[in-house]
């Protein structure tokens, strides 16, 4: 373990700090709304501990509150989390030299923030100048600490928050703030509009199947838009690279994962 691992951890933590302002109210709302739909404070905290993923927890709380069937609630939460497949694939080359426990812990702590910060950092640095594990956990740990503590606080406050405050309305607001960054171009906008439109109508479906149905149709509409335009499948990562880098740098950044693989001394040294 290199002596400078601590500074990599600190840099990761510093990079994630501004995002914590968004994580804290999110965690509070998750705690408060969970308790208000009848989930016990212990279960609310257990949910944060076991799922550790904001949007899916809110979706789960919403469906549990409405008394949706078990399978529908579980499936909806997992559909909301499908984006992590992308993160996992994109981080995998950088994680390849990690020990098994580190890989598992890294996967558990994966968040939008830790992922986005790490991938950008890893593309720009070599493994021997920036420890992959230390930087990643530096970014992931503060999110976990803030998420857990604000969920606990929210779950304890829960019942004391007067219902006139309609705090449950914070849930759609939260989703809304996350929605707009997710709309990147015309096809993703189509996916959002179709999913939203379908959600209104699909609400009459039995077993609370409306959400999953609407999301599926939205995804299908987005894909259909691209297929018709002849641009499917769009490689997201390539697109992003060429957006913010010149051609030469883009080539270099694609080589990044391979470097981290061959840089055994540094990559393996992290463990």
């Amino acid at each position: 373990m290199p002596a400078d691992g601590r500074s990599d951890f600190r840099d990761g933590a510093r990079a994630v700090a501004p995002f914590l302002l968004g994580v804290a109210p999110f965690g509070l709302v998750v705690g408060v709304t969970a308790v208000n739909v009848g989930v016990t404070p212990l279960q609310a905290v257990g949910m944060s501990l076991l799922l550790f993923t904001g949007a899916a927890q809110l979706a789960l709380i919403e469906l549990v509150g409405r008394g949706a069937p078990f399978a529908v609630a579980a499936a909806t939460a997992l559909v909301v989390n499908l984006r992590y497949l992308m993160y996992s694939a994109s981080l995998a080359p950088y994680f390849r030299r990690f020990s098994l426990p580190t890989k598992w812990l890294g996967a558990y702590g994966m968040t939008d923030h830790a992922y986005a910060l790490s991938v950008v950092e890893f593309r720009e640095t070599a493994p021997d100048e920036r420890s992959r594990a230390w930087y990643y956990f530096g970014a992931a740990t503060p999110v976990w600490v803030v998420w857990m503590s604000t969920t606990v606080a929210g779950a304890l406050l829960g019942k004391t928050v007067p219902s006139e405050l309609s705090l449950e309305f914070a849930v759609p607001l939260m989703f809304m703030a996350l929605l707009f960054p997710a709309v990147e171009d015309r096809p993703t906008a189509t996916a959002a509009v179709v999913a939203g439109g379908t959600a209104v109508v699909a609400a009459v479906l039995p077993f609370n199947l409306g959400l999953v149905t609407a999301a599926t149709l939205g995804i299908a509409a987005g894909v259909a838009t691209e297929v018709r335009a002849g641009s499917f499948p769009k490689d997201d990562r390539e697109g992003r690279t060429s957006d913010d880098a010149t051609g030469g740098e883009a080539t270099e950044s694609r080589a990044g994962p391979r470097e981290s693989g061959t840089g055994d001394s540094a990559g393996g040294g992290d463990q």
Partner: protein, 113 residues
């Protein structure tokens, strides 16, 4: 209020938790066996956040209701607050600001009505 009993709810949390962990771990664990998401899968997955979040937003603000007759069910104060918050979210992409503006509009409209 939930109709779930404690054991069922814990089981649901466990299933969703294990499933989420499996999704997060997937490629990290299988690297070497499975190096890349196929372009087609990646092309489909890229629509997940936009579609899922839009469905979640709309579903909690406006829904079609079949009883007593087919009609749109919504709370006017919530619809107004959501619309204002949507503009804020679109312009700022900030979670705290969207949250604050949306809640203040909702409280103001409710207090005035």
């Amino acid at each position: 209020m939930t109709e779930y009993d404690a054991v069922t709810l814990w089981l649901l949390i466990l299933v969703a938790g294990v499933g989420t962990f499996a999704i997060k771990l997937s490629f990290v664990q299988l690297f070497g066996w499975l190096d890349e998401v196929s372009p087609v899968v990646a092309g489909v997955l890229r629509f997940v956040p936009a579609a899922v979040l839009a469905a979640l937003v709309v579903d909690s603000v406006v829904t079609l209701s079949a009883s007593p007759s087919l009609h749109l069910a919504f709370d006017p104060a919530e619809l107004l607050a959501a619309s204002v918050a949507a503009v804020v979210a679109w312009r700022t992409e900030s979670v705290p600001l969207t949250l604050a503006v949306g809640m203040v509009v909702l409280w103001s409209v409710t207090a005035l009505a």
